[in-house]
């Protein structure tokens, strides 16, 4: 009896590991294939898709870089950095007000800010285009900065607020006794205490802004203001016959976020778990 159980146990374990590792291959192989194709020539790409590149040259990367990827990358970095700073700062600011300052209509204000979580960008698309055209911001860097900030403030405030609620109020009182202003308390005491959640929200905002496509596609058209996700599709349509160059561009777009995830995994998981699980 005991022996048979062991045998079944071994079978189950073998089955489980083959499944888990098989799934890992299904996940990793397309990514590996993408990375390898950036080093191939067009002829190699059409020959045998499973073959390794013959000579590993960075020529495709250079071509992709010169055909606009450097511009898209600059815009992406700029939009990502500025929208992350703006979103996290405005959200932390609001979260402080909502949790530690007595404000009129506090409950309504909280509901209004967090309620933005429920609304999806697609729904507001048509009026937003009209609004940005009227403001003269259509097809500018500002359109993306404003939209990436406005649509992410509810989510980010939600996360930071949940964290701030749990910080003891004695901290504020002690600071007040010492004669610290609200601003000093926020900047010097509360914000440093929120470092873990701030790190999480920074990472999540970077992932969002770097990968966003709908707004970037609708609100920009010139190459000077296009971000990488949109730039890649135009690289595809302009140089669609030179596939390895497109692959090189895709790899350039993927590498920063993959590295961010590998090194910041702990914080990204924390942010995601708090956002969905709280």
């Amino acid at each position: 009896m005991v022996k048979r159980l062991n045998f079944m146990g071994v079978i189950a374990r073998v089955f489980m590991w083959s499944f888990l590792l098989g799934l890992a291959v299904i996940v990793l192989y397309p990514l590996l294939w993408m990375a390898l194709n950036g080093f191939k020539t067009n002829a190699e790409l059409f020959g045998n898709p499973f073959a390794l590149p013959v000579d590993w040259s960075f020529e495709n990367y250079q071509k992709a870089w010169n055909r606009g990827v450097s511009d898209y990358l600059t815009t992406s970095v700029l939009v990502t950095v500025t929208s992350t700073i703006a979103t996290v700062f405005i959200s932390a600011w609001a979260a402080y007000g909502l949790t530690r300052v007595e404000i009129p209509f506090g409950k309504t204000v909280t509901a209004l800010i967090l309620g933005g979580l429920m609304l999806t960008p697609t729904v507001a698309l048509v009026p937003l285009v009209k609004m940005f055209q009227a403001m003269g911001l259509y097809n500018t860097f500002w359109a993306l900065l404003i939209l990436y900030t406005a649509f992410r403030v509810p989510f980010t405030t939600f996360l930071i607020r949940a964290y701030m609620v749990d910080l003891p109020h004695e901290v504020d009182e002690a600071a007040k006794m010492d004669g610290a202003s609200r601003w000093t308390t926020f900047w010097r005491i509360i914000l440093p205490m929120c470092k873990p959640i701030i790190t999480s929200t920074v990472m999540l905002q970077i992932l969002f802004a770097w990968n966003e496509y709908l707004f970037a596609m609708v609100f920009t058209s010139g190459s000077g203001v296009q971000t990488l996700p949109v730039g890649l599709t135009s690289l595809m349509s302009k140089h669609g016959t030179d596939y390895p160059v497109v692959f090189a561009g895709m790899v350039i777009a993927a590498i920063p976020v993959v590295l961010l995830f590998i090194f910041g995994q702990r914080y990204i998981v924390k942010g995601l778990a708090d956002g969905v699980g709280k």
């Binding site: 996940v27 698309l125 649509f151 993959v258």
Partner: protein, 295 residues
Amino acid sequence: MRAVFQRALGLAWVIPALALVGVFVYLPLVQNFGFSALEWDIYSGEQEFVGLKNYTKLLDDPIFWTSFGNNLLYAVISIVFQVFGALLLAALIESISSDRWRRNLRAIYFLPSAISLTVAGLLFYFIYEPNLGPLNHALKAVGLGEFTQAWLGQESTAMSAIIAMSQWQGFGYSTLLFAVAIQRIPSEIYGAAALDGTGPIRRFFHVTLPLVREMTGLMMMVTISGAFQVFNEVMVMTSGGPNNSTQVLGTWLYRSGFVRNNFGYAAAIATVLFVITLGIALAQMWVTRRRRVEW
């Protein structure tokens, strides 16, 4: 008087957030209702009030119904893979005793979710490509040559191909969240189950499943809501083609407004999307509130 002033000063903390959300999220939402009652040519600037005409047109539009059906299909398949599949997978991963392997597997599965849907969409565009794509090559290599086809190029397979890519991209995300939820279950509960001699399958159904029920409910809402907002992958891989077979509400809205120059009609589609996603969000709040009462 001073106290009132002091309290009002508190508003300074929330005004930046309120202003941004008010002007760029709520205001366009309200405007959208107005826009949906107009027939509107953006180039000539002509506007005409047509009442509910855009909505009745919507009901008679076969492509609207195709889109709606595609969103529904998306939701159903995503629930199977990204909620129940991911939950099973997370339970399986968390049962591994090696800490390092648990961490590595979770990270590997999540990796596609870190890259943008644009990159993932382009990647699978090439994988499905009939001539250079590895999918057809692999089918030939294992003797299933008769199944090779232009996966994204024909109406019968295009939508399934896009949804399949989307599962590849998204299942690691929900697996990670379920793994976190399972980790929060106190280990004593599993210890007690092990003492009772409960096998892994009974343990899953009698311990894990009930204790992550709230997470499962939330993930279902998030997944359904996400399925109705699909845009990127369809736009990148097929733009809604061939012959509108892969159109979803998001892409049909975009096409109606920005390609076919009918903003009023696009706004009407947006209203439908709003009603659906708001309904799901309210259900989600209800699920969360019920949980709060239980604890």
